[in-house]
């Protein structure tokens, strides 16, 4: 007898995609974990020790501690995007995506599998950075639940964004152009390593147009209760971005854009 699913959620598919994507991380464990630990250590040595020794405090917080939320956000954004975009782009590139497209899976199930795995990896890396930072400075987290909420929401929404990028990209250059040319500059200009109070008034106003500023500010507030913008504005902003990305992904699967001719 052949048993097939009725119209219920295909949990097995979600799990299969999720495990498959997580296995990719296990295969590159050294690169996945050692790299962020090394990079974070370097940031602390260069920014925390060398530069930080000349900057006593920012907003009442030691410079080394001040940059921790920014470092976590930098890692979250770049890893979420690169994990998710590569996760869907590579099957497209190699042709193995045929299997997902011909499987009895809904948009939600595909997204849960790919984006869930990408976000999980990004969150793990974010937490590794947090732990690594603990070796260099004394960590203080005023609102751990808000911190986790920020980390999870950011990882999910930017993994969704990466997923969209992976579907849109039709070559490897496009895949790397958004993280390299848009996200990294926005993170560096979004107050990751400085407070916007240090900028001239014009640049302070311009900085407010940078969406990453809201993320960094919100996450920093969860640590030290200091922020450039209201924490709720940050939370609502990232939540809205998540919804917009979900809408775009739904439209992609409905129309078959770049997936089903």
């Amino acid at each position: 007898m052949s048993k097939v699913m009725s119209r219920v959620m295909n949990y097995y598919a979600v799990l299969a995609i999720y495990k498959f994507e997580m296995a990719r991380m296990r295969r590159t464990l050294l690169q996945s974990i050692v790299t962020p630990v090394l990079t974070t250590s370097l940031y602390f040595i260069v920014f925390g020790a060398a530069i930080g020794s000349r900057i006593q405090e920012v907003g009442g917080v030691g410079y080394g501690a001040f940059i921790v939320p920014g470092l976590i956000m930098l890692s979250l954004l770049t890893n979420s995007i690169s994990n998710a975009s590569f996760g869907i782009y590579f099957p497209k590139f190699s042709g193995t995506v045929y299997e997902v497209l011909s499987a009895p899976v809904s948009t939600l199930e595909v997204v849960l599998g790919y984006v869930g795995a990408a976000a999980t990896k990004a969150i793990i890396l974010g937490l590794i950075i947090l732990v690594t930072a603990g070796f260099f400075i004394e960590l203080r987290i005023a609102h751990p639940i808000i911190m986790l909420l920020f980390i999870v929401l950011t990882a999910l929404s930017f993994s969704l964004f990466g997923f969209i990028l992976g579907i849109w990209a039709d070559n490897f250059e496009k895949l790397s152009i958004v993280p390299a040319l848009i996200i990294t500059p926005l993170v560096f200009l979004g107050g990751s390593f400085y407070s916007t109070d240090m900028l001239p008034p014009v640049w302070q106003s311009i900085s407010l147009m940078n969406p990453v500023l809201y993320l960094v500010s919100g996450l920093r507030w969860s640590f030290y209760e200091i922020s450039e913008v209201n924490v709720w504005v940050s939370l609502v902003g990232v939540s809205l971005f998540l919804l917009v990305c979900l809408g775009v992904v739904y439209a992609i699967f409905r129309t078959g854009y770049r997936l089903r001719p």
Binding site: K19, A23, S94, G95, E99, A103, P104, P261
Partner: protein, 326 residues
Amino acid sequence: MTIIEPEVGSTILSVQQLSKVYAGGFEALKSVNLDIKAGEIIALLGPNGAGKTTLISTICGLVQPSSGRVLVAGHDITTDYRITRSLIGLVPQELTTDSFETVWNTVSFSRGLFGRAPDPAHIERVLRSLSLWDKKDNMLRTLSGGMKRRVLIAKALSHEPRILFLDEPTAGVDVSLRRDMWAIVSDLRANGVTIILTTHYIEEAEEIADRIGVINHGELILVEEKRALMAKLGKKQLELELFEPLEGLPTSLAPFGLELSANGLKLIYTFETTESGENNISSVLEALREAGITFKDLHTSQSSLEEIFVGLVNQPADGSARGATK
């Protein structure tokens, strides 16, 4: 869980007025109609770009149809995609595999993707039946092309489909492996699996298919039982090698439509055998004897499926092909 077990002989796949026009305006499928019965093996033949892969891809959900509908076990592939896709297994034309995965993991992944609970015993059966068991822990990149092809079949069978699409399954496969594949197809059929395959190897269709469909320029120009097709469209010829060359055919032989070779040493008689087995060979031989023409050797031949196929696809695309069952 819904349980669907199509009855052998019932219609398991129904393609109705299916058309596909790609974004660039290319009409890949033109109002294709096709009914396939549970448990049969149908081979789709056609030159490159004829629409074979587009037809399969549309049924499997990889390509969006422009118009028409497809029913699998009575379920629409668009509205009931969960049911229809779980009944279908697809072995694509290209050798697309995840290089860094093991055979076991990739086949298990496929089973989960198609909504089936893990079943190591079934995966083992599939791998053993495809001679992949001793390779189960090998990474896919270490396998030969033929072995990768087997892995793709194993992936397609991992969720126990009732319909298996094989898109040129033996392309680039050596003769012995091709014969193994045919044996696998026979076993699957014995288990009631419906098989739809596209192929360039006419001998493959001739060897394993029950019915033959010919696609050309996006149209299904013919679907016929293999034996009936060969009987209907297959030509038979009698060739006679003469002792002495002829300058021309005697008028007494004109009614038989014989052909004389350029050197005058061979006579060719093309004939059709009726269902009761009647033909004019005796009359031809009698007429030759009366004309005093002697021959040193003779033999008969029947056109192969390949010749029938070439003859069909070379006809003008105006739907005038013989035996079209659209």
